[in-house]
Amino acid sequence: MPHACLRLQGILGQIKLDEVSMSEYIIEMLNITKEFPGILANDNITLRLKKGEIHALLGENGAGKSTLMSILFGLYQADSGEIRKNGVPVQIRNPNDANALGIGMVHQHFKLVEIFTVLENIILGVEPNKLGFLKMKEAREKVMELSEKYGLRVNPDAVIEKISVGMQQRVEILKMLFRENEILIFDEPTAVLTPQEIDELMEIMRGFKKEGKSILFITHKLNEIMAVADRCTVLWKGKCVGTVEVKNTSKEELSRMMVGRDVSFEVEKKDMEPGDVVLSVRNLSVPSKFHKKNAVRNVSFDVRAGEIVCIAGIDGNGQTELVSAITGLERPSGGTITLCGKDITRANIRTRSKTGMSHIPEDRHKHGLVLDYTLEQNMVLQRYWEPEFQNKGFIKKRNVRNYAEMLIEKYDVRSGQGPLTIARSMSGGNQQKAIIAREIDKKHELLVAVQPTRGLDIGAIEYIHKQLVASRDAGKAVLLVSLELDEVMAVSDRILVIYEGEIVGELDPKKTTVQELGLYMSGAKRDIA
């Protein structure tokens, strides 16, 4: 018997060896299942990454993409299933294990030390040293060499908090290259980039492919998949719908797989005659947090009832400051803001809210939600003080519950435990839906929506666009701030282009083109001095 066992082992060993040489897959995730309280995030998912391919992972928010990648990167442990590299089963207990296997990841929210320089961030954790003394010169040479080779231009001595988001992303990519990772995971890398930066990133990714690196690319954006990916795996509600060759498929088919139904890319919108002026901004200037000059300079515009006015521009041209001044998060240094005929330039936030302002904030985690509160507590965040929800300072719990349940039903907010779900445990798309439900259902005349679709999938985007248009059709004024050109063109009735804190052009989306809009956004063209 022992003898037979030995022989069997020998045979098995041989099979393993053959596998290593034969396997065309560099990473295989087989039958991965992961359950969180109340939600099956990954249900028996199998994903196989070929060596040297760009493999897109597509799915709605909450479909389980991030969970799956977090398992591969060692941030979570799968409840069951197996991960293999080159056909050999491996255990990935933490990101260090992943790193040792050559797996690197660029997270959606960058993991950088803000006050360190680019170079310091890149070498962090794997500092080249001799007896504990840093060998910065060597590190610098290696970083510069990599940056040269892949066209990732960075200034190694710049401090992270001072450089643009696009630059920060390059630093994250260089971090992976410095660690000589061969499997690169990009978690929604284009969500924060300008159109030009996206093109550059696509080029960089093609360069990696040429070098034989394998890329896993999480995204919602079908255009990007069509542009760079070889194959695409689609997830839907935690399940794997299938893997397709990108060249044999179409955008429409992918979106159908992703959402489980047909999606229209066009926003249906009937013509509207704008009514009275709801918001009026005159000569508004807002100081910058980063430099001594004003971030918003002498801006004037009106938003009327029944129209969607879009502030278009490349990120960092004063949109955030402009909205902060309108919504009351920051004080302007000059000018006036009038809402429904009432001067609110110096009014506090509660007064603005009572006067008729609803605000879908740019950062849903920072401003939009109290993540440790339940969904129902978040649903009344703007209204808890109203007589409907409180009596002599005591919260009317039953009314809060009923109201939350009504909003959840009406706006299709999905979560594990209904009104009692902790907001933190919800998916990004549903968190955003909750905010939108809260802000739209609140009595308002003006809806300020700042990048309401950032980081969301097309199903959710379609939904949010519909809600914005519905709000407009109900005779509300909508001020939309967006970085997405497609969104700007599809949704708005009037476009104001902001460049370096000034409104440089007012365009009609029906009469302009994306190219022309791009010229205004980049400062190459301007109408208004």
Binding site: R48, P89, R350, G393, I395
Partner: protein
């Protein structure tokens, strides 16, 4: 039934409770180890006393628990808003002084004398909580620094005012005089202990705080600010007012703690509690931080953690009988607090134990859903471009 257990184990309160128990258990084990090392032959009896000694002095347990429950509430309540109130000691001392001052210097009708003293303590604490809150709200000065400094300012100020006042201070004995009986709080009538009505008041206050936190819009705003300051601003909450109000309430709670301490009735007729102005910061204020931590800042949890810490302190004073230094109890408490810091971590481990048991239970009914089994081979979902070698090894494994 199964579902009920799942619901309970998932709740926040349960995980806080189990983690506190676990911290206490580990702290006691460490205490035993220290005793074993110090004097092995007495360790069993010593440990027994440590565990059950307090039982013989329940009146004292209640009596000593009252001030630390109050300082615990003072720290815990402010912490719910994200404020770290290190200043409970100063607020406690101020409250004690105000109560004493009214006790010595005012001569109201006897029946309400103690009540007035108590209210004076409340005012003293509120005053000492208001100042750091004011600085925090309007000038954004870190409340940790101001409240630490106000511990010293309060203590030296009180010591100075007491030693200069000949009615309050007996310089030969280097302590305050005995308070008049009318200023002392009504006793609960437990023999040989100072347990008095203040314990009942403390319990009531804890319940009221719990109601404020859970059921009112003030509590809603307070916790929202503690969890996410930016969102509270976005929602138009008046953060400045809430910060000042919270610190005033916290100060008032600690001040009441000081009043309760000094106004306790003495078991010896004609005597009273006294204060020695020897330039030492009141330790009950810092014990309050421990009580709040162990009680997860929950007002009801703080009642139990205050009682427990008082209990173990009483037991600790008894282990001296076996030749141990009473400081050993400080070690045990320190270890318990240390482990409380891991509270959440451990709190999560225990429900998982329950969950693990449950899933094993359900497996016996339904073999198909066994999660720990390795995959028997690729499932149907795997695309057609399958590698036969993989299948072979899958079966071999």
């Amino acid at each position: 039934m199964q579902l009920d257990i799942k619901k309970i184990t998932k709740s926040n309160g349960f995980s806080a409770f189990t983690s506190a128990l676990l911290a206490i258990g580990l702290g006691l084990v460490c205490g035993f180890l220290v005793m074993l090392g110090a004097s092995p032959e007495n360790s069993l009896y010593g440990f027994q006393t440590l565990l059950f000694g307090g039982m013989t002095r329940l009146g004292d347990v209640v009596y000593y628990a009252t001030p630390i429950i109050m300082t615990g509430l003072a720290v815990g309540f402010a912490f719910k808003m994200g404020l770290f109130n290190i200043g409970a000691s100063g607020q406690y001392t101020m409250g004690m002084f105000f109560a004493m001052y009214v006790g010595f210097m005012f001569k109201p009708p006897e029946s309400i004398h103690w009540l007035l003293c108590m209210l004076a303590g409340l005012v003293g604490g509120i005053l000492w909580g208001f100042i750091p809150g004011f600085f925090k709200a309007l000038l954004n000065v870190n409340e940790v620094i101001t409240s630490i400094m106000f511990n010293y300012i309060g203590m030296y100020l009180v010591d100075m005012l007491i030693t200069k006042n000949s009615t309050m201070y007996i310089s030969i004995k280097a302590r305050t005089a005995y308070l008049p009986a009318s200023a002392q709080m009504p006793s609960l009538g437990i023999r040989n202990s100072g347990a008095n009505i203040s314990f009942i008041i403390a319990l009531l206050i804890a319940v009221i705080l719990f109601i404020v936190l859970e059921m009112t819009i003030f509590g809603y705003e307070l916790k929202a600010t503690g969890y996410n300051k930016h969102a509270s601003i976005y929602a138009g909450m008046n953060g400045k007012r809430n910060i000042i109000l919270t610190m005033m309430i916290a100060g008032g709670l600690a001040g009441l703690g000081g009043a309760f301490y000094i106004l306790s009735p003495s078991t010896i007729p004609g005597a009273s509690m006294t204060y020695e102005p020897i330039n030492v910061i009141a330790s009950n204020g810092f014990t309050g931080i421990a009580v709040a931590l162990l009680g997860s800042s929950n007002p009801l949890g703080i009642i139990f953690s205050g009682l427990f810490i008082s209990y173990i302190q009483r037991s600790g004073s008894l282990v001296e009988l076996y030749g141990y230094k009473p400081e050993i109890i400080d070690i045990v408490i320190a270890v318990i607090i240390y482990f409380s810091a891991f509270a959440r971590l451990m709190g999560m481990a225990i429900p998982r134990l329950f969950k693990g048991k449950k899933s094993r239970h359900s497996e016996s009914h339904d073999d198909a859903s066994e999660p720990d089994n390795p995959p028997e081979g690729p499932g149907e979902e795997i695309p057609a471009s399958d590698n036969p070698a993989v299948e072979a090894s899958g079966e071999g494994a």
